[in-house]
Amino acid sequence: MTQQGAIRIAGDSHVGKVRKTNEDALLVEPRLGLYAVLDGMGGANAGDVASQLARETIRDFVLHRRMTLAPPALLEAALVAGSTAVFTQAQQHRERHGMGTTVVACLVVDPKHVVVAHVGDSRAYLLRDGRLQAVTRDHTIVEELVERGLLAADGAERHPYKHVLSRNLGAKAEPRVDVLELALRPGDRMLLCSDGLYGYASAEAIQYLLGSGDAPAHVARDLIELALRGGGGDNVSAIVIEAPDAAPSSTQVVRTSGALAWWQSRQRFVQVAGDTGLTRNPIVRGLLPQEALDLVALSLCQAIYHDLEKSTGVNVWTFAQNLAAGWFERGGDWKAVRGIIDILGGSARAVVDDIRGRDAQLGFLLDVAVSRALIVVELALGGLLAERLRQVDTDLIELHGTALDTTEHETLEMLELPDLHELHELHEVAGDRPSEPTRPSARFLDRPTIPFLRPDRPITSSGESAEVLNAIGETITIARGRLSPRAELAGQILSALETVATDNGGNFAAAVQSARELYGARSVDNAGVMPLYDAFDKARLLVASSVHQLRAPPAIRVRVLRSLSTAHQRLVGAATGLVVEAVAPFSERLREVQAVTGGLHDAVAKAERLRADLERRFATIVDPSLPWGARGTTEW
């Protein structure tokens, strides 16, 4: 790491995991206040020639002309000189034709003032108040299109020319250079990097590392490591420039003296944990008291210490996850976890209070930091609990499904076996035999094989005998008794079934009337109709199983079942009619909407074809004679 006055600077470069040569070049000249990252390109090893030649030229230019030009003009002219040198050499050496380099350069005028200049897609970032912002805009064809309003920003990421440069040093003797001046604030950090970094590492990860508070040399090394872990598909280079802090930030205080004070109090932490009953917690049962304190209390104390040092929560998170996951796997309950975490939280507070007593300011900062560590513990536990809840929910759904299948199966058995038997008996009484056995799947059907009623029974206007009507009433009463008080809708359906089954008119009108009463309370567009149909199904199962609890002769039970199943069919039919009637206007509207969207689909397809055609024509305009790979170095 180097230092320019109070400013700290560090840079690093790596060939990456795929390329054989490193065509990137770094320029770190603290005595000139000049820093740059260059990314060379061009076949036959010309890329590294271009980047190194440009680097030397820029450095020499700044060295010799710094007294004669103002900083922005100096840096701009230096980059132009670098381009001229590369261009000239490319013209003189046939094998180096087409070579070039990108550059992002920073001239530190004083600790509060820098000038940034760039050509190509090497970037400068500024980290201020923990947030990363790009200082430069890539000189690529796509970015130029976006800037001119010819391409939407959201389309840029998918564009085929995303990586094709519109400018670089060496393509022209005098390229256009973008220059800007920046006022640095205390604690600001700047990053200069090649596309090998930001192409293989997310902006969030770069922000995290740059804001970690580590020394610039460590940050530069970590950034390179980050890109390598992300694939390392290109040469990767980074320079970190750090403006001096006005005063140590609270984060720095916590990371240094705060962490140290915490670690020095570890005995107190362990002692409070022991005094408040950690060794009696079920989670540490079987361990010797000292083992328990070391394994649990000291481990958390250490995890908090490491997290304070690094301003992260990863150690505390891992501790909490391991502790609780291990306990849950052993079948342990939440109470024990809550108990041990409360004990550890109490110990942490006791330590913080002690430190606060000695140093109020440091104690306050630690209080906030340790409270945050305890929040991380809760977040880790919450994740585990939620995952367990999800697993139990999955089991419950499966078990409910099995239970429903079993109930339905049992109901069928209850219904169908006696049904067949009884039917045979009844047919024998009537001197008739069924032509074929009733299929088990044909439930609730109005079967033509149901025998005639005996003429000595009184006939009501509903077509059923008083005995059957009474039995229907009894069946509904039994069914109601088996219904949960909360299943209000199913209860209403049972009443409706009774009304329809015992209707004097014996026609469809009673069913329609009852269905209107059931359906009228809800509408299609808010509650939906599924609860109604679920309740129909529930009522059907209940009625079927209740019929077999009737103390009545088999013939009566068959008659009751027949009447109620007919009533059920009529009721469901009437309700379905109402639903169809209610949704009819919406169906009409839907058809209209479909017609409109069909038209829109055609328009979009036409626009897509037009866009594709324009792209093809555009590609021809750029430079049809060059192969795709070489177009990237063409000035546009």
Partner: protein, 155 residues
């Protein structure tokens, strides 16, 4: 040392800024907040910030628990997992504490409010976990009962 009413007033004064910051950063703070449209996010975050104000003013843990219970239930009805609800509540509390720290930098009130908001967030996280654990306990009970019934049915 500042009194509770003073801190509650400081919090109330800060609330619009906290809300604004949360709305700006909501997609980076928590994915579940990022997925919400602006009016819904404003309503949800606003409800939490309102409650935080009440909790700071009253210190009523029963009320706090009741709020968390309702909030969890409402978010569950919107198919949000309890873990994402927890992350959302912590993100809101943490941002409120950060804004308090920035706005009250160098003042005793600012420091105390920051600490108070951090502790309230810790208490929130603790309360949410206890509620999730209770629900988990209930459902484990249901599972045992259903498993038992299923076994008996097979016999």
């Amino acid at each position: 040392m500042s009194t509770v009413p003073t801190l509650a007033r400081s919090y109330e004064a800060l609330r619009p800024k906290v809300l604004q910051r949360l709305l700006e950063l909501r997609s980076t703070l928590d994915p579940s907040l990022g997925r919400l449209d602006d009016p819904t996010a404003r309503a949800q975050i606003g409800a939490v910030l309102d409650h935080l104000g009440n909790f700071i003013a009253t210190g009523d843990l029963g009320l706090h628990r009741a709020f968390l219970h309702t909030f969890l239930a409402m978010r569950a009805a919107e198919a949000q997992s309890p873990a994402s609800v927890l992350a959302m509540l912590v993100a809101i509390g943490d941002t409120a504490a950060q804004v308090a720290q920035e706005e009250g930098a160098g003042t005793a009130d600012g420091a105390e409010l920051t600490l108070l908001l951090t502790r309230v967030t810790a208490s929130t996280a603790r309360g949410v976990n206890d509620l999730i654990a209770e629900e988990l306990g209930r459902r484990i009970g249901q599972r045992s009962e259903l498993t038992q019934r299923s076994r008996e049915g097979k016999r």
